[in-house]
Amino acid sequence: MLGEGIIQGLVETARNFFGSYVEKERLTTIQFPEERRELPEASRVFPFLLYDGSDPTQGLRCVSCQICEKECPPRCIHIEKSKDKKPDFVGKQQFYPAVFDIDVSVCMSCQICVEVCPFDAIRMDKEFELSTSDRFDGLLWTKEQLARPNEYYQKIHPEEAAETDGRREKEMADAKAKAAAAAAAAAARAAAAAGEASANGAAGNGAAAPKTPAPASKVSQ
């Protein structure tokens, strides 16, 4: 009959109206600032720079290879390479960024900088409440503002961080083993050199001898 559907609709909305006062599970909205839904692991907003240890200026992983700067589609990253070098986590001498700026008003959150970084130095943050009253300096983040400790990364992206940390530990262990092997070889050579005075050593060992001390001395720095 004409009007029947309207009555049914009115009954349905009345049920919603009164039901929302009785059954709390009907109300699907989350009252945002007080209640927060946890963001998914893979959510991303803007990049940040990772550092090891406690000092952001010393421990910054970035070696200013500038790959991210070149790959960035909207070109929001600006890097200036340092003149001097610092040892990285495996003890290798590396450059570090004298200036590392990200213009977040330009950044499009594509994560390409993260994908291309060979040093696990740049990652995506989940922080999204970033409004500022200064649209120039407030949106140009320097390396001091971008630096975050590794613990922060482990907190916001646990799975990714575990993978990265595992890989880096293995690299570090490899470097250590290599250094240890080199040190052992040097020690053996030293022993051999000492023995040479009393007895004739192998000529082949003696030829390689000048090369090997270099990595060992780097580790000791």
């Binding site: 004409l2 309207i6 349905e12 909305t13 009345a14 109206f17």
Partner: protein
Amino acid sequence: MTTAGALDQIFVTVDHWLVAKTPAPFQTLVAVVIPVAAIIVVFATLFALTTILERKGLGRIQNRYGPNRVGPYGIFQPLADAVKSLTKEDIVPRVADHVVHYLAPLVLVAAAFLAYAVLPVGKNMTAVNLDAGVLFFFAIGAATELAVFMAGWSSRNKYSLLGAMRAIAQMISYEIPLILSSVAVIMISGTLSTTAIVDQQAHYSGIFPHWNVFTPWGLAGFILFMIAATAETNRSPFDLPEGESEIIAGYFIEYSGFKFALFFLAEYLEMFAVSGLGITLFLGGWSAPLSFLAILPSWFWFFTKLLVLIMAFIWVRGTLPRLRMDQLMNFAWKFMLPMTLIVIFAAGLWRFLTPVFAAQGALGVVIRWLVCGAVIAVPYLLLARVLEQGRKIEKRTYRYAE
């Protein structure tokens, strides 16, 4: 005078006292200004109250909380809205007709407020007791269409003009059933004065009142009146002139800040006014629903009924989707118009059957009810059947797209 009577007449007494206290040369002026000021203050406050009620109600209908940030449970939201609309920039399009663009919201609000002049909001509480009160009401109601078209035309915007054209087409189409459904009441009461119409309904058989809605023609007339009123005030499901998803905001698309708020105010004022007329014509105006409840003041009952009708408007808005233009016009001319004519006929029948069955007592009342009810119900069912024939739901076929 009893306490209940004194409370009932408190505003009238205060009005008379204030007029008596003013110096003689200004008495006429003050006597005019007081009711006007009262109407503006009361109904503008009701507008603020309704905006928050509507937003909360719609929220609950959609399983949300609605506004709940400003003050406890968000009850101060209207204040925040007022501050916002007053501080926003007033933008006028460069190519707009500035004078007309400026005047449109003012004319609309003025016309909306003028309609309250003839509404009896309580016993002895009609601002102007005109002999042709109902006629005045509809004449002023038609003036709002002018303002709507002024707004749509002067903005020089395609969407606003479309919205204005839609508004005019809709308002003119639905004005006919609106007026015809009130003609039934006018026929029975034999007067155009709103005060007299309420007085005729404000007496009781036992404890039950003699409201027009408690007759077959009154019930049908009331439903038709409220449907036409919904269309007349551009409220959902008849909000085509505003149609957010189609023409953004319709005729007030180029208005911002306080002028935009004025359009909103006028829209709600029209809704209150037309609900008030519906109460006056069908729901016994300020009279209490049961005789012993008359100890509560008359104005209390008027505003209670008004709030109930506002709730019904909100409920319907939260339920029904917007009509299409052809559905709107078909509904007006194929359903509303024939039904209102039948209601007028039933009202006439009721009037002439009253003396015929007067001798039979209660049996006479039952026969009258059955005859008049059948006169309305049978054409309704036939009309419904005819109208539903045309809309069999079939699988949709496309000529070119497949």
